[in-house]
């Protein structure tokens, strides 16, 4: 048991070292990335982040840069990496266009009944905090949210069939409005 605990804490140390030396370059030392093309990971559930790491590593989620980085990482560290970044408080996002954000709110809360877009709030929670099943959205960078919606639409990201449907049903303006609203959550 003592050995196992030692092993686990050594793993956590390895994960922390990797996080601060490799992952931090894009995602920031505390998971609050500065560059909006890279997602903020701070405040996300460990289980969700672990699922994404596994999906990048297996190629199920197509993101060449992540797959390349992870090719040299022991999958045994994924859980520690997910726990590390998820443990930080998420920094608030910056709304760039308040008018668009206001248009995004009813869409986020109620969806679009004409085109059959469900309310984002149904899964991601009204405050966007998410949970283990559905990722946190609150405060996420607009550019990253837009890229994910576009990738779901095009089929490049195929990790969730329901989000593929959502991506296809949203108009470009709706996607922008949502990204602005989410940034302000």
């Amino acid at each position: 048991m003592g050995l196992l605990l030692c092993g686990a804490s050594a793993r956590a140390d390895d994960a922390r070292k990797l996080a601060t030396t490799v992952c931090a370059a894009c995602h920031g030392p505390d998971g609050n990335s500065a560059d909006p093309q890279y997602p903020k990971l701070a405040g996300m559930e460990q289980e969700y982040l672990l699922r994404q790491l596994s999906a990048f590593a297996s190629g199920k989620r197509r993101e060449e840069a992540m797959t390349a980085v992870l090719a040299n990482v022991d999958p045994g560290l994924f859980s520690g990496l997910a726990a590390y970044f998820g443990s930080f408080a998420a920094a608030p996002g910056k709304v760039a266009n308040a008018q668009l954000a206001a248009q995004g709110k009813p869409l986020y809360d109620d969806g679009n009944t004409d085109s059959g877009v469900p309310a984002c709030a149904g899964c991601h929670q009204p405050d966007g905090k998410g949970n283990a099943r559905f990722p946190r959205l609150a405060g996420q960078h607009q550019a990253y949210v837009l890229k994910q919606l576009a990738d779901y639409k095009s089929g490049r990201r195929a990790t969730d069939a329901l989000m593929t449907t959502v991506g296809k049903r949203l108009t470009a303006t709706e996607a922008q409005a949502l990204a602005e609203y989410i940034a302000g959550l």
């Binding site: 969806g111 009944t113 059959g116 469900p118 309310a119 984002c120 709030a121 149904g122 899964c123 099943r133 559905f134 069939a161 329901l162 593929t164 449907t165």
Partner: protein
């Protein structure tokens, strides 16, 4: 004359679309493997609540639906009815393109269907559903008593054994929308007896009867 009639009839049949042909050849509520499996599975309401999360974005928390009729209230509906409709949407026996991706095999397992139905059946039905304009209630009551009550019940409670939905507590606009689709042959999985009941109804009559249904008390025992 007989030959002529036969020719006209066969020409009519040829002119029908393949889906209409398939629909008319179908026996209402005939068993098919997936529906049977979901009906036979033991639904777990606790698991169902978890699985229902992906439905909340449209049907809302508590499955209360929307008064604008865009999404029905599912709370308190019979599990048999919910499973039949879900299976029918998923197998495209019932036309509902908005719902289809959220009901298909990538979204739900057969066990999920049973679990969700068990969860929904046990949910409370608050008496705040959307009601109609209230201008033709006497007509609606008369039509309901004539054509609807024998299946949907005195209180709009439906019949779980016979797969007849509970209509009490449902939003007026949803009841009206589905009645129009059923009358016009666009829902596609309707009971022929139901289609026959509303076949001659005008839009105003459908509105009147939907308004009446939206005011039914429902049965306390489910």
């Amino acid at each position: 004359m007989k030959l002529f009639l036969q020719m006209v009839l066969s020409a009519t049949v040829v002119g029908l679309s393949t889906s209409t042909l398939a629909d008319s050849a179908r026996v209402w509520n005939a068993p098919y493997p997936e529906k049977t499996a979901a009906l036979q599975a033991k639904g777990d309401p606790v698991r169902g609540e978890e699985a229902f999360v992906i439905c909340q974005g449209c049907h809302r928390v508590g499955a209360l639906g929307r008064a604008d009729g865009s999404y029905p209230r599912l709370a308190g509906q019979h599990a048999t009815v919910l499973i039949k409709q879900l299976a029918d949407v998923r197998s495209e026996r019932r036309s509902n393109l908005k719902m289809l991706p959220f009901a298909d095999h990538q979204a739900l397992s057969v066990q999920d269907m049973a679990d969700i139905a068990a969860y929904l059946q046990g949910l409370p039905v608050p008496p705040d559903q959307g009601q109609g304009p209230g201008q033709a209630l006497a007509l609606g009551e008369r039509l309901y008593a004539t054509d609807c009550v024998s299946c949907h019940g005195q209180q709009g409670e439906g019949d779980a054994q016979r797969f007849y939905p509970r209509v009490a507590g449902q939003h007026y606009r949803y009841l009206l929308r589905e009645n129009l689709l059923i009358r016009d042959g666009k829902r596609r999985n309707s009971n022929p007896a139901m289609v026959e009941a509303v076949r001659r109804y005008s839009d105003d009559e459908l509105s009147a009867v939907a308004d009446h249904m939206s005011r039914l008390p429902g049965a306390s025992a489910r």
